[in-house]
Symmetry: C2
Subunit: 353 residues, 2 copies
């Protein structure tokens, strides 16, 4: 979810890490488009994009799914693409992106229509059996709520506090169930859902170790300098989780299916660390730091800023974000390191198609 206070289009611009991490999901999504059970007219093919943000990173996957579908049905069936995110998402940038981005799937396609739903995907938000293909990239790691404070960090994976860890683990399990149950209502029989999301790797590592450490140290420095208060920092939490292979499979463990869904494919893999790769070529440590800081800003600074005394409309919110970005960039530039980016890709099928 992009921040209104950060200005239009920030997420579209600074989500290259997410774009790189979503591309391994493309192959799964094309597979889904090639094998999902299709409705016949006058029914419509529904494609749902769960957690679209400003839309840029959704254009390529959806365009490629449409191309794969059209190889099967020859433009006959109307395709309706629904982008979902929270109400506070920047919908104007999304609609402008759909209308004007050169990569928009609306350009040059026939019988394809776009729409949006600004409601939480932890409930059923689309009509029953309306979705032929679902796509969700970098979204289901966001919990439906912050289940606990984290006394010693802003990300639970880097915390050693057992209560916080337990609360996040419980919430992650509940939210995964709620997400699957809602999608099961929305998918038609034979429909498929592809998910790319943060994960725990086979060693249980959430990754981003250096980044999280630097982020927390920068916040401590801001407390020390008096720019934010200790109590504000204590409230700062990024409500995301990485799930392990077992976490993803848990709802399916008993019977092999859950709410008529089957886990067709699951892979935990390491996302490509483009920022490190580029640093190895150009040796530009400033750029290295700036890119990770921009990624952090687009991804999580809104969550942190909302803990300021005045929330997102705190008079310090703008300066907080720019200072945090600048100082984090500087800190990361001192000693560039590769980043572990554990990701999961899942292909889930609704039975009966």
């Amino acid at each position: 979810v992009p921040s209104p206070m950060e200005g239009h289009g920030v997420y579209n611009q600074d989500s290259q890490v997410q774009a790189a991490g979503a591309s391994p999901g493309l192959a799964f999504f094309e597979e889904a488009a090639a094998t999902a059970t299709l409705p016949s007219p006058p029914q419509r093919i529904g494609i749902a994009d769960y957690g679209c943000a400003e839309g840029r990173n959704s254009l390529a996957p959806i365009a490629s799914a449409i191309a794969a579908l059209r190889r099967r049905d020859d433009d006959a069936c109307p395709i309706v693409v629904v982008h979902t995110d929270l109400p506070g998402n920047d919908w104007t940038v999304l609609f402008d992106t759909l209308a004007h981005d050169p990569g928009s799937y609306l350009r040059g396609s026939v019988n394809v229509f776009a729409s949006a739903v600004g409601l939480s995907f932890y409930n059923q938000i689309l009509p029953p059996e309306s979705v032929t293909l679902g796509w969700s990239a970098w979204s289901v790691q966001w919990l439906s709520r912050t289940p606990a404070a984290i006394p010693d960090q802003v990300q639970v994976a880097a915390s050693r506090n057992p209560e916080a860890r337990a609360a996040f683990t419980r919430q992650a399990a509940e939210d995964w169930i709620a997400f699957l149950r809602s999608r099961a209502q929305e998918l038609r029989a034979g429909g498929q859902l592809v998910i790319v999301t943060m994960a725990l790797d086979e060693r249980g590592d959430f990754g981003y170790g250096v980044l999280l450490h630097a982020l927390y140290e920068t916040l401590e420095e801001m407390v020390a300098s008096g720019f934010i208060q200790a109590e504000e920092k204590r409230r700062m939490v990024i409500p995301t989780v990485g799930r392990s292979r077992d976490d993803f499979l848990a709802p399916f463990a008993q019977t092999g299916t859950f709410a008529q869904l089957s886990m067709e494919r699951i892979e935990i893999f390491a996302g490509e660390d483009r920022i490190w790769n580029d640093f190895q070529h150009d040796g530009d440590a400033q750029r290295f730091g700036a890119r990770w800081a921009a990624f952090s800003r687009a991804s999580v600074f809104q969550s942190l800023a909302s803990a300021l005394d005045g929330g997102l409309s705190d008079p310090r919110a703008g300066a907080f974000v720019s200072k945090l970005e600048a100082r984090l960039a500087a800190r990361l530039a001192i000693d560039p390191r590769p980043t572990n980016i554990p990701l999961a890709r899942l292909r889930i099928v609704k039975n009966g198609g």
Copy 2:
């Protein structure tokens, strides 16, 4: 279309004139809901709200249409409501209104789903034959573009310039055709469309005479005081039109139908002037002026402000809007008068159902 610069929710708060003017459309819409041809499951009932703004004024008509539909089909058929407006609409307020307003049709209803489309309704923007009921209140008076400058006013109806008047008349005719043609593609056979919009009354009057006069004088005063430049005022245009009964009927004149649409009912009527009615009770001239000024701000100040040298991000934009509102309110409070509010209500049916 509400203005981002005016802050969230302004249109929801200050569109009472529109709300009052839309309620006479309710009876037509309920009639449409009672008589439109319904699809049967697994097809869905589509309700389209063309020009939703922030949504508040759509809640009651859509809730009443849903109630009328449910008397016919007993919750069986999923209902999908699609709200459309331009990309720059405040979609966050729309989604918050749908989720949280006590009057939202999502509350307590079963099998009803909401979505949004941020594209101009002068094109087909929804799937073919997906709309059972269409609703459009206070929207089709907005032209797809400003066809000409208006040298002597900001609203063409108050202008005596023949070139400006001719250009607006041409654009109004073209846009009406484009609107109908697009809706004809989206409506299913037997589907119906109800429109409430500004009109010319039987004497050819657009109404709002005192308000438009006061608005233009206030702008001239702002030029005289140096707050805006004469060239900026010259660019200020409100791209709306009132259409006459004949204008609405023109596309149907030859054969009685147009693009498979028939004009089932058409009425030109005088909208209730609640602000004047209240003034007659309370005698509060300040409040009278303030309410018409707030109506103008929510409706058209964005169009005017976009003509500032720096457009909507001009450093004077905020002050321009507040000064204009305050001065207009003061001017209108001097000598309160009733306002002629010519409106049209139309019920259009797609043939073949």
